[in-house]
Amino acid sequence: MALGKSISFKMSNPIIKVENLSKSYIIGHESRERYTTLRDQMTQKAKSWFSFGTKEKIKHTTEEFWALKDINFEINKGDRVGIIGRNGAGKSTLLKILSRITEPTTGKITIGGRVASLLEVGTGFHPELTGRENIFLNGAILGMSRVEIRKKFDEIVDFAEVEKFLDTPVKRYSSGMYVRLAFAVAAHLEPEILIVDEVLAVGDALFQKKCLGKMEDVSKNEGRTVLFVSHNLSAIRTLCNSGIYLTDGKTIGKEIINTTIHNYNSSVQINTSLKSHLLVGSLILKSIEIKDSPSSLSNVTIKFSLYVENDTVLNSLVMLIYNNIGQRMAILDFRDKIKIKEFLKGQVIYFTNVINKIPIIEGDYSIGFYISTDQKTMNILELARFTVSPKKPETETYIIPYDVSNRGLIELEYKTDITVEYD
C-alpha cells in the first residue's frame, strides 16, 4: 500500500487541459480576372462608359483559414512550458485563446487557476501619464487591486530600476526603461498561471537574465505554472522543463524540452531568400540583401529598404542577428543613425550597412528586427537567413581548423609573437 502511494503521478490533475482545440478565421480575397463571356464583355463596356475604367472584373471571395488545428495537450501545476515554432505557426493565437481574449472555433479548454498574460509590453500604458500613474493603470488592467499595487509598489520600482524617472511621462522613457517597467508590473502579479509571449527580446542581457530568473523563481519556489513563447532557444532551454512545438497550427503535444527543441531545429530549412514582410503596421520590408558571400573576418554589406505605407514616427529600429540555436549574436542599432524620425506615406527608406571584418564563426545566421513606432513596438524574427563561410586561410601556414562546435562563437583577428629564451 505504502509503495503504491509513493509512486503516484502528478498527471492525474492537470491545471490546463486542452482538447480538440481549433481556431479559424475568415480571410477575404479580391481576385481580378479578365472577363471571358460575351455578356460580361458587353456589361463591362457599358459600365466603362460611366466609370473611370476598371477593365477587369473584381471577384470577392472568402476563405477559411485554420490558425490552429485539433490541438491537444495537458499542463500540470508547476510546469514551465516553452512554446516554440516558426512565425505564423499559431503560438500567439493559442495564447490569446488561453487568455480568453478570443474564443475557440471548436474544442474545450479547462483551466484550474487564475491566468495573467503578458502578450505585449506595456499594454495599456499611456504615453502622457507618468511612470507612477502607469504602474497603477497597467496593474489594474492586468487584474491587480489598488491595495495590492500599493503594497508592491516599491518592489516593482526596484525591479524596474526607474526610481529617478517615476514622475516623468513614459513617452520620455528609453525603450529599455519602458520594457523594464512593463515587465516589473506583470512580474508581481500573483496568478496561478503566467503566460508570457515573446516580450523579453529587447532589454539588455542583465534584464533578460533578471526576467528569466524571476519567472523561474515564481515557478520553482511558488509553484506557479509558466507558459513562455520565445524564439530565443537558449532562454527556453534555461527556463523550461517541457515544451510544445507548434507547426502550421498543429502540435504533437507536450514533451520534454530537449525533444521539443530538437524537433524545431530539425525542421528549419536553410534558405537565403527573404519574405516581403509587413514589419509593423505601416512599415513594410521591401528588400533585404547581403552582398557578396560573407566569410569570417570579411567585410559584409547588408542592404535593406523599408516602404512607408502611412505616416509613421520611427522611434527605434534595431537589426538583430541570431545564430542557428537562437542566440542573439549582435545587433545593429540604428537609433542614432536615423536623424529625422518622422516618415511620410510613400517614402522608401534605404539602409546600407557595412560591417567591418565580421567576427562571427562560420555557420547559418538569421536576421530579425526590433521596431518601435508611434503605433506599435514589435520584434520580428527570421526575416532573412545568410550563411557565413570559414575565414580565408592565411597563406603562410595552413592547418586544418578544429570543428566549429569547439571554436566558440567568435572569430578573432589576432597576432601572436613567440620567442624562446633561457631562463
Binding site: I101, K108, G112, T123, G124, E128, L137, I141, P169
Partner: protein, 273 residues
C-alpha cells in the same frame, strides 16, 4: 478542480461574467481616471471646457430663441435658466453616447491583448461624462444664485433622473459600440443623430408647446422624460407623467437590447477590432 475552474468552449455565455465584473470593479474607475487625467495634461484651458460648452450653448439658444424668435418659457422662470437646466442632462447624454460609441475601437490595444469583461470600457466612458456633469452642476448653482432662484422639495428626486439618463446613455452606448466594432459606419452616424436629437429634444423649448396629437411620438424620445424631470426637480415646472412613463419604458428596453447584443457579440471583438 477548485472553484476557480474555468471552462472555455465556443459560444459559452459565461456564468463567471458577473463575478468577473465584480473582480475587475476597480477598472471602471481607473479607465475613467485615465481619460480625465490625459484630457487635462499639457492643457491650459482643459478643465474649463466642461464649463464653457453648456454655458455657450445656453447663451446662443437664449439669443436666438428667446430674444429673436420670442419663444417664452411657460412659467415665470427666465428662459436662460430653463435652457441651462436642460443643457445639463443633454450634454451628459450626448458626450456619454459619443464617447461610449467609440470606446471599444478606441481601446483596441487593450481589447486585443488583455482579458477583462469588455462592458467596463463603454461603462467607464459614461462615467467620465458623469464627472463632467458634476462640474456643470457647479455652474448651475452659480446661475441659480445669480437669478436668486431656489428649487423646491422636488430636487430630492434629481438623482433618479440622473440614473434614468445614465441608463439611456449606457444602453444605447453598449449597442452602438458593439455594432461599431464590425461596422465602422456608426462612427459617422452618431454625430448626426446627436445633432438631430438636439432639435427634437426639449432643450431650447419646453415640452408644453408640443401639440396634443404629436405628444405620443414626441415622447418616444427617452430624453424627453429626463429633461422634463430635470425641469420639474429644479424649476418646479409641471411634470407630464405620461411622457415620463413612456421614457422610462423606452429606457429599459434600450438597456435590455444593449446588454443582450453586447454580450452576444463580445467574444468576437478581438477578432474584428
Amino acid at each position: 478542480m477548485n472553484s476557480e475552474t474555468i471552462i472555455i468552449t465556443p459560444h459559452t455565455t459565461e456564468k463567471n461574467y458577473w463575478r468577473d465584473l465584480w473582480r475587475f470593479r476597480e477598472l471602471f474607475y481607473i479607465l475613467s481616471w485615465r481619460d480625465i487625467k490625459v484630457r487635462y495634461k499639457q492643457t491650459v484651458i482643459g478643465a474649463t471646457w466642461a464649463v464653457i460648452r453648456p454655458l455657450l450653448t445656453t447663451i446662443v439658444f437664449t439669443v436666438v430663441f428667446n430674444k429673436v424668435a420670442k419663444l417664452e418659457p411657460p412659467t415665470a422662470v427666465p428662459y436662460a435658466l430653463m435652457v441651462f437646466v436642460a443643457m445639463l442632462p443633454w450634454q451628459f447624454f450626448s458626450n456619454a453616447l459619443s464617447e461610449a460609441s467609440n470606446s471599444l475601437v478606441g481601446n483596441a490595444n487593450l481589447i486585443s491583448k488583455v482579458y477583462f469583461p469588455r462592458m467596463i470600457v463603454p461603462a467607464s466612458a459614461v462615467i467620465t461624462s458623469l464627472v463632467d456633469l458634476a462640474i456643470s452642476f457647479g455652474i448651475l448653482v452659480v446661475l441659480l444664485l445669480s437669478y436668486w432662484y431656489f428649487p423646491g422639495w422636488q430636487i430630492l428626486f434629481l438623482p433618479l433622473f440622473i440614473l434614468l439618463a445614465f441608463i439611456i446613455a449606457f444602453g444605447s452606448g453598449l449597442f452602438i459600440t458593439a455594432l461599431n466594432v464590425k461596422y465602422r459606419d456608426f462612427r459617422y452616424i452618431i454625430p448626426f443623430i446627436i445633432q438631430f436629437g438636439l432639435y427634437i429634444t426639449p432643450v431650447g423649448f419646453s415640452s408644453s408647446i408640443i401639440p396634443g396629437k404629436w405628444k405620443i411620438w414626441y415622447a418616444l424620445n427617452p430624453m424627453v422624460g429626463v429633461i422634463d424631470g430635470f425641469r420639474w426637480c429644479i424649476l418646479s415646472e409641471p411634470l407630464q407623467v405620461n411622457n415620463l412613463l413612456i421614457s422610462i419604458g423606452i429606457a429599459i428596453i434600450v438597456l435590455f437590447i444593449g446588454v443582450r447584443y453586447f454580450r452576444s457579440t463580445e467574444k468576437s471583438f478581438a477578432d474584428h477590432i
